[in-house]
């Protein structure tokens, strides 16, 4: 049986630190996306200015900071907001979160969910890309005012959580797509599932048109942050999942695990087994970002309350066969 444990846990970025760096009071530190960078880790993340709200809705923006690799000391003067939100009426006008990072052709690309506000439901989202401004890193530029992954017959609303992996000369994007809005608890609650698209260039994507991960809880299970790493002869995916129902105690995300040999067909476990194979040390963490380094898996993740308590890191131990 597969086992997943988390060791050497430490908190590396809190709301208070981000508030000091940005110079205004910030809420939530979300969605770590890390690229090694010489002796440093450059971490992109999402946060919200408390002053940046209307009707109680906040706007998530993208930031980056650098850490010393050995000590996780924050490098001073490493940095600030790295991109503006979208123009009026465009898909990312009301925020950008979560985010993932990949270097393509020696240029960092950030894939993110861009948020719009609607009337009958609170919001919708589609997936965009930013490219690093090579003249002024770590600032980023928009290649397109529109999204790179948009709505179609199967993806009718709310797409997010993009993560891109290079595999056999192609780019695989894992993302989530909304399946229905549920109004049984009063206000509309979305259900969303992990899906995939394939690309040669990172800009033109072809969706494979199916849900990748079967439900561990029930049909109203929400799945997010699909993070994939090579393991044995195949691949392990760690993802975050929860119930979409307001009264359900499983509404807080927990980590799920799935296995594939081809990135397209995945097997996963029922909720009870998920709890047995995932160590309690992972409790309260979500939105994993994994980096393989020196034979170890370094992970970055959100702490409880969707990053209300900050971002942490640790060493992930995966053992056994799926």
């Amino acid at each position: 049986m597969i086992r997943v444990d988390l060791e050497n846990k430490q908190i590396i970025l809190t709301e208070q630190q981000v508030s000091e760096i940005i110079g205004t009071e910030m809420s939530h530190v979300q969605s770590p996306a890390v690229l090694p960078f010489g002796d440093l880790y450059r971490m992109y993340f999402c946060s919200r200015k408390l002053t940046d709200s209307s009707d109680g809705n906040f706007v998530s923006r993208l930031y980056s900071v650098d850490f010393e690799k050995d000590s996780f000391e924050l490098v001073k003067d490493s940095r600030k907001e790295i991109s503006s939100t979208g123009d009026c009426g465009t898909f990312d006008e009301f925020g950008m979160t979560p985010v993932s990072a990949i270097s393509l052709n020696n240029q960092t690309h950030l894939y993110y969910a861009g948020w719009s506000r609607a009337i009958s439901v609170p919001y919708t989202a589609a997936i965009g890309v930013l490219i690093e401004d090579l003249q002024d890193p770590p600032m980023f530029q928009r290649l397109f005012k529109g999204p790179v992954i948009s709505f179609d017959e199967n993806d009718s609303f709310l797409m997010g959580s993009p993560r891109v992996k290079e595999h056999k000369g192609k780019l695989f994007m894992f993302y989530v797509g909304g399946t229905s809005w549920d109004v049984s608890s009063g206000s509309p609650e979305p259900t969303y599932k992990i899906r995939m698209a394939i690309s040669d260039d990172g800009y033109n994507w072809r969706k494979i048109g199916k849900d990748l991960i079967s439900d561990s809880i029930n049909a109203f299970e929400c799945q997010a942050a699909p993070e994939v790493i090579a393991y044995g002869d195949g691949y392990i995916m760690l993802y975050s999942f929860r119930s979409n129902l307001r009264h359900d105690p499983r509404r807080e995300y927990q980590i799920g695990i799935a296995y594939s040999t081809d990135l397209i067909n995945w097997i996963t476990l029922p909720a009870k087994l998920q709890q047995e194979v995932i160590s309690r040390n992972l409790s309260g963490t979500s939105y994993y970002n994994m980096i393989e380094e020196a034979g170890q898996i370094r992970v970055f993740y959100q702490l409880p309350g969707m990053g209300k308590e900050g971002i942490g890191t640790g060493i992930l131990k995966i053992e056994g066969e799926f």
């Binding site: 719009s116 017959e153 009718s156």
Partner: protein, 316 residues
């Protein structure tokens, strides 16, 4: 070229369903024995907002007589949170390469920072046009890459092994005196399978008013020596109340479907003496059958009173 006015042929107040408000964006299909004209009509939700629903009316081939009205609504609006939950307008029928009848729908949903957003959906008929079902809950063509918002008005036809679509794409929102106003332009895309569309991302019709000119509802017809497009265009601000700034019919011609020359002065659609199109001519649809070459279109207030017809005097 002169288009003779044949008057208002579908009167919104005489519809046997709906609220007698608007017959918008007529699209004619030749059924040989008769002409079926698809259009959309509006219902108020009681809060000064409307929802549009598609339906149709059947005419004799010379458009002199209404034979019957169709199913209403022809397609239900979309589910909660989907692209067409707050209305379908326009409804644009076309035939696929096997002769099956389909239609693009422009679906509308309401937003917070702007009044609306839109995408193009697709529906298919399994009973020769009496009923249509949607292919999936989401749109066929949505904002993507250099089409950042307001993808609408998809006019599709099959020609030389591919589907061509002329559509409109939002360029920017600008501040109007009462609300945000949109600027949109006509563009072209093509597809092999009606699923994946390759978009040129080029505004193909030059502006004659200014850079904020809004262009809508392209309709394209093959002529003896190329292609003819009719569309409508207006100013970005003031178009609702000032007839000089409202929609009028524009024209363009092309040899290759890619490069278009604007030829507004070559065509004149004569206005009707009864004034239904005195202040506005909008949402054109070019149509040809054994009785002649026709232009169906809307008049004042975006088709509040219904739609009318003009007939080309000579051959194209």
């Amino acid at each position: 070229l002169i288009w003779e006015n044949l008057g208002l042929i579908c009167d919104a107040k005489k519809l046997p369903f709906g609220q007698g408000m608007y017959c918008q964006s007529p699209h004619a299909v030749d059924f040989e024995e008769f002409v079926r004209v698809f259009f959309t009509t509006r219902e108020s939700d009681g809060r000064n907002l409307y929802k549009s629903y598609p339906t149709y009316v059947d005419f004799s081939n010379d458009f002199q007589k209404i034979l019957s009205y169709g199913t209403y609504p022809l397609v239900p609006l979309g589910e909660l949170g989907t692209f067409d939950e707050h209305g379908i307008f326009p409804f644009q029928p076309f035939k696929d390469k096997n002769g099956n009848l389909l239609a693009t729908t422009t679906g509308w949903s309401r937003r917070v920072s702007t009044p609306t957003e839109s995408s193009i959906g697709i529906v298919k008929s399994n009973d020769l046009g009496n009923g249509f079902t949607r292919i999936g809950k989401g749109p066929m063509m949505a904002p993507l890459h250099h089409d950042p918002f307001l993808v609408a008005d998809g006019s599709v036809f099959y020609f030389e092994n591919r589907y061509h679509m002329f559509y409109i794409s939002g360029e920017r929102w600008i501040d109007g005196p009462e609300s945000k106003e949109r600027v949109y332009k006509i563009r072209h895309a093509y597809s092999e399978d009606l699923r994946e569309w390759s978009r040129d991302y080029v505004n193909i019709i030059s502006d004659v008013i200014d850079e904020d000119e809004c262009q809508a509802l392209p309709t394209v017809m093959k002529t003896e020596n190329g292609w003819l497009m009719a569309f409508c265009f207006r100013n970005a601000i003031g178009f609702r109340s000032d007839p000089k700034k409202g929609y009028r019919i524009g024209w363009a011609e092309s040899q290759d479907l890619v490069n278009w020359n604007r030829i507004d002065k070559k065509h004149t659609v004569l206005k009707d003496h009864s004034n239904w199109d005195r202040d506005m001519q909008a949402y054109p649809n070019l149509f040809k059958n054994k009785m002649g070459t026709f232009l169906l279109y809307n008049g004042n207030s975006f088709g509040r009173d219904g739609f009318g017809l003009a007939k080309l005097k000579e051959n194209l």
